[in-house]
């Protein structure tokens, strides 16, 4: 499992989720802190492509052996792609939470929502 890291260039939601903005779409995943708290991930239950997600609400579930956790959407929009590789290799969420462990790509609904998210420094300050 990788060491703690919170890359610059991502936007962070206080419920330990990140978003990487790329024009009108964004990639979502969970932070190093979240995967560490959860332990070894054994299952990722993705949403379906086309589903609308709302900032601050759950859009997927991630499970370890003895815990299950809602994954919170950092921004609102429509799911345009899910990371199909996580079905067979959910451990990628632990091994590479910001890379191969990405969860969904979303066509953003409201660019203004990004104002409410944190940068890496602010998120790390929240973690204390």
């Amino acid at each position: 499992m990788a060491d703690a890291s919170y890359p610059d260039g991502l936007l962070y939601h206080p419920e330990h989720d990140w978003a990487q903005i790329d024009g009108e779409t964004a990639t979502f995943g969970i932070t190093w802190f979240a995967q560490d708290a959860l332990g070894e991930v054994v299952f990722f239950d993705p949403p379906q492509v086309g589903v609308q997600v709302t900032q601050g609400e759950s859009y997927a579930e991630v499970e370890s052996v003895k815990a299950v956790s809602d994954v919170i959407a950092p921004l609102s929009g429509e799911i345009v792609e899910v990371n199909a590789d996580l079905a067979d290799a959910p451990e990628r969420i632990n091994d590479d939470p910001y890379g191969e462990g990405w969860m969904v790509k979303v066509k953003l609904a409201d660019a203004g929502e990004q104002q409410g998210l944190m940068d890496a420094a602010a998120y790390q300050a929240q973690l204390g």
Partner: protein, 501 residues
């Protein structure tokens, strides 16, 4: 890291399917004593099975040896101390197996005419009466199959009660210390769960309860003593608040073993109580069932009890016992037939063995044993690493926190639990209740001796001393068990839940 795949399993790890050889058998069918007819005449080919189920092919000696050996890979209550909190692992009296196996019980068909099942119905009626007296509530249904099934019955009864009065309530309150079955049951019964906080003494946060109790609340589900092993002295006030908004008060009987003959849920104001006959009333746990979860209820809930009810009818020829299916307001059936009668036989035998005085003594000694073990674990060498979560006298069980142990010694509650296995002791319940960090919930029960409790306390102290020297020992425990720590993540990621054949 991917662990090595199992190749040819050692003999003691083989399944019954891996012992199978074509042509071997145990069963011999009784001779065909009627004229044989072509199968096609009896059952059209398209409805018939084309390939047999690939069941094992083994002889009786192989079958017996296989399962006998498997049994030896289990730890059990007849072998050693089993202080599994909230599970009440008390001795299972051996008489009970004998009486349950009497042919008049074991071979009695559930649809036998009531006139020819009077002994069974009288036993059930007597058990209903006894459980009602113990609960302090007048009416009992024996039907639910387990505690969680009793809970479901209770919440469905609550729904029927409110709906019969024309009220449609939406929420059920559960304490944040509740067993997971409580919120799961609430959802199945179509209600929304609202959590109530815990106060500094481990009881219900009465202010929080008052704030959340409104006309939308159908029920409060509570255990008293709580899952922290503490009796909530505010119970009368709690009942008043709940009844004040017209809701019912539900008692999860998981912890009844502390209070038999001392105080009664009905007298505390509860409307519905479930019993776990496999906890307080000695039905053996069977490695995860069977159990039984009868419920006792107040007058106002009685009309909604499941069908059928065992009733007693007096006439000129004496008393007769009947199964009453004519219950117009009943919630209906929760399962087939009359419930787990074989469990009733054992629990009834237990109640008749102990009687009023014995049941009270059982609860007294359960509480005495728990407090004695707590006193032993509060001594130097243990208490600084495993402090009691709520430092009061406990009831039949108590909660320690392994948080200082994790911080100071670098071993978690899980490690302590696994190391206990090497000493021939079943670990306490771990990581429950969720409210306490690194929790250990310890319930010794009344059937353990003083010496057993002392030995357990010594083992815990020894493991902590050992961890102070070398925490790796506990972290890698156990060592002496049939297998060592298992890769649960692998089992969950790529589930193999049947033998590939």
């Amino acid at each position: 890291m991917t662990p090595a795949a199992p190749t040819a399993p050692a003999d003691d790890q083989r399944t019954i399917y891996e012992r199978s050889q074509p042509g071997r058998r145990a069963f011999v069918a009784p001779a065909l004593d009627v004229p044989a007819r072509p199968l096609d005449e009896l059952l059209p080919a398209r409805l018939r099975r084309s390939a047999p189920a690939r069941l094992p092919e083994v002889s009786e000696p192989e079958l017996v040896r296989h399962y006998h050996r498997l049994s030896k890979r289990n730890f059990d209550l007849d072998t050693g101390f089993y202080p599994l909190g909230s599970c009440t692992m008390k001795h299972n009296p051996k008489l009970h197996e004998r009486v349950a196996a009497l042919p008049g019980n074991a071979r009695l068909h559930p649809l036998q005419d009531e006139r020819r099942a009077q002994g069974a119905l009288e036993l059930m009626w007597n058990l209903q009466e006894a459980l009602g007296e113990i609960a302090g509530l007048p009416h009992v249904s024996l039907q639910p199959s387990a505690g969680s099934h009793g809970e479901l019955a209770g919440v469905l009864l609550t729904r029927a009660y409110h709906e019969d009065r024309g009220e449609h309530r939406t929420k059920v309150l559960t304490p944040d210390t509740a067993h997971g079955t409580n919120p799961a049951t609430v959802t199945m019964a179509g209600y929304e769960v609202v959590k109530v906080g815990t106060n500094a003494d481990g009881g219900v946060d009465v202010d929080d309860l008052r704030a959340k109790a409104d006309e939308q609340v159908a029920c409060l589900m509570l255990t008293n003593p709580s899952t922290l092993g503490l009796f909530d002295p505010n119970i009368a006030e709690i009942a008043e608040i709940v009844h004040g908004v017209g809701a019912t008060l539900y008692y999860d009987g998981a912890n009844l073993n502390a209070i038999m003959g001392i105080t009664r849920p009905g007298d505390m104001g509860f409307d519905i109580v479930h019993f776990n006959l496999h906890k307080s009333f000695t039905q053996p746990h069977g490695g995860g069932g069977p159990g039984a979860g009868p419920i006792a209820v107040s007058e106002r809930i009685e009309p909604y009890l499941p069908r059928p009810q065992v009733i007693r009818r007096e006439d000129d020829e004496g008393a007769a016992f009947l199964l009453d299916e004519e219950r117009p307001k009943s919630i209906g059936k929760l399962r087939g037939f009359q419930g787990n009668y074989g469990v009733f036989v054992r629990s009834y035998a237990y109640i008749r063995s102990l009687g009023a005085e014995g049941l009270r003594e059982a609860s007294e000694v359960a509480v005495l044993n728990a407090n004695y073990l707590l006193a032993l674990l509060k001594r130097a060498g243990v208490a600084e690493y495993l402090p009691v979560a709520y430092d009061r006298l406990c009831m039949h069980e108590f909660v320690l926190s392994g948080a200082p142990m994790k911080r100071e010694l670098g071993i978690r509650t899980l490690d302590l639990a696994k190391r206990l296995l090497d000493f021939g002791v079943h670990p306490p319940t771990v990581y429950f209740p969720l409210l306490v960090d690194e929790a250990l919930l310890i319930e010794p029960t009344e059937t353990e001796t003083k010496e057993t409790l002392e030995r357990f306390a010594e083992i815990v102290a020894a493991i902590l001393r050992e961890a102070a020297e070398d925490p790796e020992i506990a972290r890698n425990a156990p060592y002496s068990t049939p297998v060592r720590r298992l890769d649960e993540a692998r089992a969950a990621k790529q589930p193999v839940i049947r033998q590939p054949l």
